[in-house]
């Protein structure tokens, strides 16, 4: 299952490398503000993280636990993480491929869109 998902994600990386590069030039040229809700689909994040950042549901009915829930996460942390994947300070072959296709403005837009989506993520409650 994991291998299949990796393969699927990798094929998305290769499929989007060229098309998304063209897309980002387009948005840059028109000066349109980056739209997180659109980017999550055009940049193929949706394949693993789902449309709202809550992940993809497996045939078992459960959400695939290998991918993080991004919905409801702090925007500043999502932005930091994407830039870390992009620069390579955080090592992940698949995420590096995706993040390298994103401009700073697109990363910011994605981070804010995902942070605004509802999820079950919450701050850790202290132990009494």
């Amino acid at each position: 299952m994991r291998l299949v998902n990796r393969k699927r994600a990798l094929s998305f990386v290769f499929a989007t490398v060229f098309s998304s590069a063209a897309f980002s030039n387009e948005t840059q040229a028109t000066g349109a503000p980056a739209d997180g809700a659109k980017l999550i689909e055009t940049k193929a994040c949706v394949a693993c993280h789902g449309k709202d950042g809550n992940g993809v549901v497996l045939a078992t009915g459960k959400t695939d636990p290998q991918y993080p829930i991004l919905a409801g996460q702090y925007a500043s942390y999502l932005e930091y993480s994407l830039k870390a994947y992009r620069s390579g300070t955080r090592k992940n072959v698949i995420m590096a491929g995706f993040a390298q296709q994103l401009t700073d403005a697109e990363i910011k837009a994605l981070a804010h869109y995902l942070a605004s989506q509802p999820s079950k993520l919450h701050t850790l409650k202290g132990i009494e």
Partner: protein
């Protein structure tokens, strides 16, 4: 050409060992998805996590960003992230030190607790 009794016996033994190994591999692959750490053991280990991850809007200093929400996060991702800090594939001095202080079993227990922790947990 004939095979001695010993040769046949050796083959049988090898085949037996091979199929046993295969069976073990198949069973462990099948149960792997549900084989998780122990959330009860993990809970105590998360005491130090709450120093940073237990404060709403708490900020990391340089660079500045909010320390992520980790409660309710997915199990396998938490395990991968903690092991990533442990082997320096993720850059954060405090998190590296924390992760290195934990065994792999500790990490699985922590992830089991965090992934099942709900808002109601006190």
């Amino acid at each position: 050409m004939s095979f001695s009794h010993r040769t046949i016996k050796a083959w049988a033994a090898n085949f037996g060992a091979l199929s046993f190994g295969l069976a073990v591999a198949l069973i462990s692959a099948a149960t792997n998805a549900s084989a998780q750490g122990d959330p009860v053991l993990g809970k105590d280990l998360t005491y130090t996590c709450s120093g940073c991850h237990g404060i709403e809007q708490y900020k990391n200093a340089y660079p500045q960003y909010n320390v992520p929400k980790i409660s309710g996060q997915n199990y396998e991702y938490l395990v991968a992230a903690l092991k990533g800090y442990k082997v320096d594939e993720r850059a954060h001095p405090t998190m590296r030190a924390q992760a290195k202080s934990f065994s792999d079993a500790d990490i699985e227990n922590i992830a089991a607790y965090l992934s099942t922790a709900t808002e109601a947990h006190k």
